[in-house]
Symmetry: C2
Subunit: 531 residues, 2 copies
């Protein structure tokens, strides 16, 4: 096993200058671990960002192939610590197997997938309009491409200690862009964070990158994150977590003398609509599928299906009864930490006490043993749902709210009151398609990803993925935190006007030496430019 | 001539419910015009945005070809009022000929250019990853494309009454995306704004678009704009103007319960570096070229070259003397309005009184006649420049600040202290290229557009254009307000998972009926997808 220091990793050096410490908590026993992790001081944070800015002066010049090789090396170094990472994360999160091994594979695949994007090369979006010297006035030569932004802060999620954490999607996509990263580790799994830092430091060193390309700071309060986001040399922020946490960072970044973008993914209630044809054809299977999705990882998924909309009918009432029985029958799982357990208890209590909602099962924490909350099913009608904001809030955990609607029109009207979501799902058969059309139409305005006959949990890491959505799902609906286009968050365009070839980047040279797809005089092409 | 009403145009109806009015001011005489323009009331603004949101429910479904036809019609309707627009804008801005005829041609060309983008169709960035049903677990089919955001507010610029105003680049790109627009007219040219509203209303009606697709509100205070940006149904804001104005809107939008993006282009001092080889080879011609650029439109360009950096030498001193003589010799032009004249007087006075800068000519308003400010040249050395923030501020008008540097290293160090800019320019000959490399490297981090041997004024409307840059040049460095990619500001991606063909948009159908370039299973192609 790796020996842990409890220190911050500042540009490749371990540092523990602060006196404030915290420990891991075993969620199965609520007992603290042995290692004291040091919250980073303002000086350590300043050093991390300053070193990142210095490193950026080099890494922003690296060819894409070198960044791709680095990502492969990082994935290899993580693989080298695989058993250790899985055991440590299991101790800190209780997420167990097969979840953690699968999530670690996903994490290294993500890193390697960006290599494919970088080696292909067209992601720099080269656009060239050649000069028209004979036009009056002469038209200049203009060539535009994406360049990296600079130092990025990444805030780890609690619920994905691998895939949305120290070496997760935000870090991978920032690295791929050529941006140094300062990770703020989640206080729920500091030991896991430290082991990732070891792996990434090794990759930085093995690749001959400047040490400031990666730093990691620990912290269990809001100070470390706030100080980091306020640093004048920081250029962007990636975050996965709660609405409150994400909005606080967004506000801080917007109020800086020089505002910077915050790409915060803050969760969602992920509405699922079940249409009558689907209910009739496969209601029984749907109970199983939906319960499995709603209880996956103790319901601690940002894509957890927290809201199910159905037309009121005898079949729907039977479906809800069977769903409730199935939720009651399944063994509740250990949750990640005390804050999530108590947060869930508080939001459910608020919702229940706001009236108009019936608790069909659950609705309380399970006090003995580890952090745990009963599988919970609530029900309201559409009028209550539309008028009670509490029913629109996320209950982060194994909680499902059924909302019954009087008619398809009522259903469409109800969808129209839903806030921004990561996902929206419709279950239907062929005979439901006409009914689905206006619903999909309305749902599309509210989501980043629209599903047919599926469950929203399970965010496939492919080019076409869109893991994002209108506020409050995220603070940046035009971006994604999963999939190859996630790199776009950490780049910006620069146009070069009339630059001599000696001063142009490879991507913009006449000969197209990188063999990338470009837009030349309004046409997509890989051809070189003839003089 | 068009008869003006002084009213707001709310979803195709003229409305003047408010009692607060203002008039045009003739900048040549400082005399008010005859028409009283009514500042929009909160109720009128609410109606405009509410109607825009209703219109969006239709227009977001329109095929790109229909939006392209609309843009052509809008350009035609503007052309029909061409003489009227030019005469009215000249009365309100004193920008004269050939500037105004040229700017109007640019404006209608911009509208039509987006038609090319829409009809080609690939701008929706379709990405498709087909299902892998045999994988464990099965991989779903995922298809992603860009969709329009919704109602957009556009704030007109004072200094481009056509190209960055009612039917300017922001409006054209939002319309192209399928987004309804509510224009907040600039109080400096309300009559011009009203004539554009007439043309756009005609285009909306002739095209059979819902009337709420376009509204125009007038206002001479900050209330109208603030109320507009706070409207819950608004989705994005385009703005061209001052740092103070843009930042105020950015702050308002960031503080909304649901924040929305503000694409504010706020100006720049556009550093120009003249290297020794260029100075020796063509110093004389450069004086003429630079003075022409610095005084174009009375220096009221966001790309005005306000800062010239040179190595200290006898040749440089001669250059500055000749530049100063040329600036003194040229007749100052009428400025746009009282606020710009007094704002320039105030910023120059602040800079001069902060010390360390020498005024070589000008430095004061010209009180008789119209709004006017003397052509002004100031000089400081690099140490003074680096330590005095006033020297980094924009002096919006015909003002040039020369900064002399002791060496190339000093020059590079000095560039490293410059804030975000729209443009940066280097003048050099072949022998300057090695010296230029590190300067370009540093300048690239600070600008949206990098020029070699040119002047920054004249923002070519081509695909490759990048009119933007790091803060404080803009609030959104990853976007442009000129060129075809400006459309990206008003779209966001949606992914469709396992949707039946009957419910998929055309852009994502297997057959690729729009014949657009797509990324299918990681490969760029126009091929259809074989089952």
């Amino acid at each position: 096993m790796t020996t842990l220091t409890g220190k911050n990793s500042i540009a490749g050096s371990w540092s523990a200058e602060g006196s404030q410490t915290f420990t891991s908590i075993d969620p199965r026993t609520r007992r603290p671990g042995d290692v004291n992790f040091h919250s980073a001081t303002a000086q350590e944070i300043d050093r991390a960002v300053t070193e990142a800015a210095a490193a950026f002066q080099e890494t922003r010049q690296y060819p894409a192939s070198r960044l791709a090789d680095f990502l492969d090396t990082a994935a290899d170094e993580i693989d080298n610590l695989r058993d250790d990472l899985i055991a440590t994360a299991d101790y800190e999160t209780a997420l167990g197997s097969p979840r953690l091994p699968g999530e670690l594979t996903r994490t290294t695949s993500q890193l390697r997938a960006f290599g494919g994007l970088l080696r292909e090369g067209s992601y720099v979006e080269a656009i060239i309009d050649t000069a028209l010297p004979d036009r009056q006035p002469p038209r200049p030569d203009l060539r535009r491409m994406q360049v990296p932004l600079g130092p990025v802060a990444v805030f780890s999620a609690s619920n994905f200690p691998f895939a949305f954490a120290t070496a997760g999607g935000d870090t991978a996509s920032a690295f791929a862009a050529g941006c140094p990263v300062i990770v703020k580790g989640h206080p729920g799994h500091p030991a896991t964070t430290e082991i990732f830092a070891i792996a990434l430091n090794r990759a930085v060193e093995a690749s001959g990158f400047p040490a400031g390309f990666f730093s990691m700071v620990q912290g269990d309060g809001i100070d470390v994150g706030q100080t980091l986001v306020q640093h004048p040399l920081l250029e962007a922020v990636g975050f996965t977590g709660s609405l409150r946490g994400g909005r606080a960072l967004f506000d801080t970044a917007a109020q800086r003398p020089r505002p910077i973008p915050v790409y915060a993914e803050m969760g969602s209630i992920n509405p699922v609509v079940i249409l009558p044809g689907a209910l009739a054809a496969r209601g029984g299977a749907l109970v199983e599928t939906l319960v499995a999705s709603a209880t996956l990882g103790a319901g601690q998924f940002c894509t957890n299906p927290g809201l199910v909309l159905m037309l009121d009918s005898a079949e729907t009432r039977t479906f809800i009864e069977r769903y409730t029985a199935e939720m009651r029958a399944r063994q509740p799982q250990i949750m990640l930490n005390a804050a999530i357990e108590s947060g869930l208890a508080r939001t459910v209590e608020q919702t229940v006490s706001s009236g108009g909602v019936e608790v069909l099962t659950g609705g309380e924490a399970i006090p003995e043993g580890g952090f745990c909350y009963a599988h919970t099913v609530m029900q309201a009608d559409s009028i209550q749902f539309r008028s009670n904001p509490n029913l629109h809030h996320e209950h982060f955990g194994p909680v499902t709210l059924f909302v019954t609607c009087a008619s398809l029109d009522d259903l469409r009207l109800t969808i129209g009151t839903i806030e921004g979501q990561l996902t929206g799902t419709i279950h239907g058969e062929a005979e439901d398609i006409d009914a689905a059309r206006p619903l999909i139409d309305s749902l599309r305005e509210r989501v980043g990803r629209l599903l047919w006959n599926g469950v929203p949990t399970g965010v496939e890491v492919v080019y076409a993925q869109q893991h994002g959505g209108p506020y409050p799902a995220t603070t940046a609906p035009a971006t994604t935190s999963v999939g190859r286009t996630a790199i776009k968050r950490f780049m910006r365009p620069v146009a070069y006007q009339n630059l001599p070839a000696a001063l142009l980047p490879d991507a913009l040279q006449d000969e197209n030496p990188l063999d990338i797809l470009r837009i030349v005089n309004n046409t997509y092409t890989r051809e070189s430019i003839k003089p």
